[in-house]
């Protein structure tokens, strides 16, 4: 490891705000994983559902999860770039 990288790492350790953001990013990642699992499970349920009313409800839930994931991924990327 070069000395510059070492200094950078040390600086990161001291930068509390950055640390907080990294923790936040990790939490968002956890949620994204969980949402992905829910998304896949919902897709399976939609495929199997016969009742049109229930199918509509599940599709709506799927859209909500997709929108939340989209928002989360965007947020994750923005924290990574900072």
């Amino acid at each position: 490891m070069t000395s510059e990288k070492l200094i950078e790492k040390f600086g990161l350790l001291l930068d509390m705000e950055r640390q907080k953001q990294i923790r936040k990013r990790d939490k968002i990642r956890t949620l994204l994983k969980k949402l992905k699992q829910q998304k896949l499970a919902l897709k399976d349920r939609i495929d199997q559902e016969q009742n049109p009313q229930n199918r509509k409800r599940l599709k709506r839930n799927l859209k909500v999860i997709q929108a939340q994931r989209k928002k989360g991924i965007k947020l994750c990327k923005s924290i990574k770039c900072k």
Binding site: K24, R60, Q68
Partner: protein, 605 residues
Amino acid sequence: MLRKILLPTIFIVLGYGFWVSPDFKEIAAGVAIFLFGMLSLEEGFKAFTGGILERILQRTTNRLWKSLSFGIISTTVMQSSSLVSVITISFLSAGLIGLASGIGIIFGANLGTTTGAWLVAGFGLKVKISAYAMPMLVFGIILVFQKSKSLRGAGYILAGLGFLFLGIHHMKEGFEAFKDAIDLAAYAMPGLKGLLVYTLLGAAATVVMQSSHATLVLIITALAAQQISYENALALAIGANVGTTITAILGAMSSNVQGRRLAGAHLIFNVTTGLVAIIFIQQFLLAVNGVSDRLGIAEDDYTMKLAVFHTLFNLAGIIIMLPFTGQLVSLLERLLKKRERKVEEPLFLNEAAMELPESAMQAIRNEIGHLFENAHELIISALNLDPQKLRTSEDLKELVETTPEVKKIDIDAIYERRIKTLYSAIIAYISEVQSTASEHFGEELYQLRQASRNIVEAVKDTKHLQKNLVRYTTSTNPQIQDQYNNLRLQLAVVLSELAAAKDDEEDETSLLSLDSVQLVLEESDVIANGELDRLIRDNAISAEMATSLMNDSAYAYDVAGNLIDMARVLFGPMQKELRDAESELMLSEEELDEIISSGDNDNHN
């Protein structure tokens, strides 16, 4: 009456003692300094509560053996079973831990506190500890004046230890000098009589000093100076163990029924342990000799032997009582029952929970949860739905259709009985916590106050809604009947989802699932989705019905909206960082509108 007499009596006895003997003065001053050290130590450890201690407590008490270990380790480290008891009672009162976990901690604390006797007998008496006390006090007091909370806490701990050492030193010196003037050993009582009398003396001394630790140090120093016999010292130690329950009982007086049950468990444990020690004293003496031999403790090292005895009989108590923890919990639940009340009273808000900001916050959360449960039940009844069926039903539409006619219930009376008292208590408690807690909790307290207000608003909106629900669900016009049943269905969906979100605390995405509920709400708005216009255009409903539906739709929207807003504050993961992350991912009104419009497009395509 007794309290009024007790204090002057103590003052007179002490005053007379100081006048008669300067050595007695030194012993008493040693005890006072020691007790002050304990207070300082507790103050120091309290500075570290509000984070790590609570997190450890919450995570390590899900199994009985873990609770027991927590009790042993925390009391060994902090050298204060009182502090551990107070924290446990406040957590139990706030509903953060269960009674069985609390009992495990208290059992463990009883064993952990015996390490104090080992430290004093093995280290305090053999080393000139006053030499360590002075620098500790100096460094400690410098740290106490620092601004940082952790440094201040460390200062209190260091100064506390310094005072403890100084207190032990003075007690030791006092007893050494005292034996030249008066030989207390002449009052030694052999046999059963001595055992019982000195047990009572030990208990009484601990009740007065409210610290078994201080009594034990006093016993050890007196024993080292040969002012009491070994046999009587054992009885005093048994008495100190029984007397210490008074701290837990006093602490539990200001707590709820759970706190009182824990104090009951503490009393039962210590009295049983004491009785076992008295009955089997000979067997214990043999065991002490055996263990001492193995540990290389000299035959005449009675102070160390006392420490062995103290540990052994507490350990025996745990071995005897631990397998019966379940039965003990049932017994205490039978003996100390929750009072049946006509008017609902708070379950979690009590003084004991206010000891620590974290337990106070959790108590408020739990109480708002309690308020929500009552409001939830009230709203379900107002919709003429069965609460049990609502939780289990797969098809809510069918559930609403099977009970089409709404019957009027007296919401005002139920509000007075089950909502108002709780709401008032929550608001008063929040104000009290706000005046003592740090600014750090200000925002959260504000949100919690708002959440309880949301619940009350939801109940009030339900009252407004009920009038026309009763009227139009029995109407002969099937169109308006359908519309009002739709309102019921819409609220049933929200109530069912919220109940599920409340029950599923483990779900990390429970807050995010509220977006779907919000979407149901937005989609069902009869004004926004054009349903109301259609009904008027088709002359399906009268103008009067239309205005009622418009108003009631707004009420239903407000009921659901208020409850969702409350859920955003109250439900979801405990961990703040995860909650914050979830809040970031939650959808705004515009984003939800986008989904609705994309859904419309899907339908058109």
